[in-house]
Symmetry: C2
Subunit: 454 residues, 2 copies
């Protein structure tokens, strides 16, 4: 937003001018510069500023800067960055550089980061931060506030304070800072905690599920606990917003029929682009070849009634479109948990009448179109044009119904098999429906036109 008013050269010369800018604006500026410039800029900055910039998940050159800077400098910055961010960056830094950098870290820092690195990508464990505030549950409000003042600078958030059982150190409850502020300083911290059990996440939980918890319970941070009930980290709301945006990108790209691309559009390498798009495109192409095979089966019919070919794209695309509608509805309903796996039959029973009605509407339009063109003399569909128009109408009902049904069931099937339902892209559904569409179309044609033009 304000990026144009930031002059990188001037800032490098006089780093103290940085404080008049929000770090996110500086990051946006750096993202638009080349790698070389970004490295030089970070290198010249005072450490605290360099750390703050490197900590921003939006900073696209962070990995590369880490690799390009002298290893000692990188390690020094990493010591002061938040551990979840460091783990995230290390994940993408190739060996042997990764080991070189890790070996330069203090043993404590390294252990923490190694643990984060063991969690699968996109799990709560992989995005959590270990810089949270926990206090024994038998402390008073005053003790807690005093402790907060001491540790504030080193914690990602202090708005949620985690209460641990003094003996077992298990997570007992969570207190919000706002409750602490208004409480009597002499009161026990446990007395101002909510009466319901704390909302927690498992380290292996999908980050999407954690985001849903944050949204549902309006939390500032979700504690991540291990199987023994000990808190091992927290996922904060701002990490979750970043995760949600990332998931959304992934879903939109998948729904568009391609693999997820992490980099911003302008920074994707050409070969990377071809790979991510070409893979699915080839799979779809190979599947779509079945349409040719199907049509070959009906080539005799086609030869006799070439007029049937004219409507193939129209009839088939309608199946694909209705399927793509049903798929996107169900993908979203599943993601929001409005619909669960066990509801598949209820959904099918909704899609069946919907498909029939939608197909009938299109069918009527199709019949009117043929009648109009015929009567107005725009095109001659032959003497059996009435039968032909009925064929189109009935085929549309069949194909749109099949499209709605299979489009709505596909996300369920994918989810059941353990895939992300959003993989059910519009192109995927269209391909599925196309082949069946041809079979339905020619079968209906045979039914109505057998003995006349077929």
């Amino acid at each position: 937003m304000k990026q144009d008013t930031i002059d990188a050269a001037a800032i490098s010369a006089a780093p103290h001018t940085l404080s008049s800018h929000h770090v996110a604006d500086i990051v946006e500026l750096l993202n638009h510069k080349g790698l070389e410039e970004a490295v030089q800029f970070i290198d010249r900055l005072p450490d605290d500023w360099a750390v703050e910039i490197m900590d921003q998940p939006d900073f696209v050159w962070a990995c590369e800067v880490m690799e390009e800077l002298p290893a000692e400098k990188s390690a020094h910055l990493m010591e002061h960055m938040s551990s979840d961010r460091v783990a995230d960056l290390l994940r993408w830094i190739p060996e042997p550089k990764r080991t070189e950098l890790k070996d330069l870290l203090k043993p404590d820092t390294r252990t923490g980061i190694d643990r984060l690195l063991t969690y699968p990508h996109n799990s709560a464990g992989s995005i959590m931060t270990t810089e949270f505030v926990s206090v024994p549950a038998d402390w008073t409000v005053e003790q807690t506030l005093t402790y907060l003042r001491e540790v504030e600078a080193s914690r990602e958030t202090i708005y949620a304070i985690f209460l641990l059982d003094p003996g077992s150190k298990r997570l007992v409850n969570v207190v919000k800072l706002r409750a602490l502020i208004i409480a009597d300083p002499k009161a026990s911290i446990l007395s101002i905690a909510p009466t319901y059990a704390p909302i927690t996440a498992n380290a292996l939980a999908d980050r999407e599920d954690v985001a849903r918890m944050i949204a549902k319970y309006d939390l500032l941070a979700v504690p991540v606990v291990d199987t023994t009930g000990h808190i091992i980290g927290i996922c904060t709301f701002d990490d979750m917003i970043d995760a949600m945006i990332d998931e959304q990108t992934e879903d939109v790209q998948r729904m568009g029929g391609m693999e997820h691309i992490h980099e911003p559009y302008m920074q994707i390498g050409f070969m990377e682009m071809i790979k991510k798009r070409g893979g699915w495109l080839c799979v779809l192409f190979l599947s779509e070849m079945l349409t040719t095979s199907a049509m070959q089966v009906f080539s005799d019919e086609l030869e006799k009634a070439i007029v049937l070919a004219l409507f193939i794209p129209l009839v088939m695309s309608s199946g694909g479109n209705s399927g793509s509608q049903a798929t996107s509805l169900i993908i979203r309903a599943l993601a929001l948990q409005q619909v669960r796996l066990r509801d598949w039959f209820k959904v099918a029973m909704r899609e069946l009448p919907t498909g029939i009605v939608l197909g009938a509407i299109l069918g009527v339009i199709g019949i009117v179109r043929i009648a109009l063109w015929q009567e107005l003399g725009i095109f001659d569909y032959g003497e059996h044009w009435v039968l032909l128009s009925i064929t189109i109408g009935v085929a549309l009902i069949g194909i749109v119904t099949f499209g709605s049904l299979s489009g709505s069931m596909l996300p369920f099937i994918l989810k059941r098999l353990g895939f992300d339902p959003a993989t059910a892209s519009a192109p995927f559904v269209a391909t599925l429906v196309d082949v069946t569409g041809i079979v339905i179309y020619f079968s209906v044609a045979w039914l109505f036109l057998h003995g006349t033009i077929l």
Copy 2:
């Protein structure tokens, strides 16, 4: 999650047992009950609990409960609910009930809500809350903390404190509660504020833009200011997460080629469903009719070389698929502001070579397929099968390139015209590409097969 352990009947009988549940879990339970049950449940609850449940944006029966309860009871609850939520509910309550309820509110409450109602749906103004904390910028930290303790209960958040110029009352800066906690009580509140200008939003800003600000700057709340620089409300991070989820649903449904449906899938009325899906389906169907018209133009060629018809679905769907990939990439890049309107030419210059390479890959596969089938004797494409396979290969390059180009440009055009780029659904792109695809296909065929089979 824990919904199954909540017994609605038991709670109605003994409302104090509610406190062992998180309000979000109770809401989830109520959502799965019928309207009647929800109304009775809310009616029997103590007021503070009823208010908290009605305040949850996820509570789907809130509007209906408002209408069904005695008007005095509804008005009483509304007095204690957050003003943004009340405005949101009133927006959907039909007249004359809406006026009846509003007339029962205290004049102050009514004025605040009337102002919120004047802002367009989905604008920052329409989702902001007016329950924020502001203090004169010449106060001390101690004064501010004392004031916070007084007003805490009536404010949606106290984690961000807005500093106003003591004279003009304009917004000067924002202080985070965590900074307040660690500061010297005698210090001036302004001395602990950040040195950069506060991030603010206009009341008419789209909520998507406000969500982006929250994500970019890691804010707990964005202040909404009027044109004179006075703060009129705040958008909190949890409202924004709800808004983001809603926007995402809208985008996914639009991309699936249908109108946005607000209700959960299982609660959409049948006619509503037909309307929201049928509208776009008809538009797409009418546009796709151009494929029939295009094929009618080439019906002579088709008659001469019926073999050409066999590949129409294959060749056309490839154009639609590559277009849908390009569209979803650009929709996302635009939404994340990785790409701006002025970058359209740069994008076109990336998509052009991408399309050519992807088309060439599919082209080679297509040629191999025809050669294989011919040589293996699976199908006989005639004596000019080599020319035919070249036709398919070249047509694929043309169509995939055209698909990538037009798919990537469509979101730009929509955005330029003031529409949401996500309206560029996969079905929309496929339809656009289909018609041109037929023209390209038959033109290439004419070029290569003229004089042989054409």
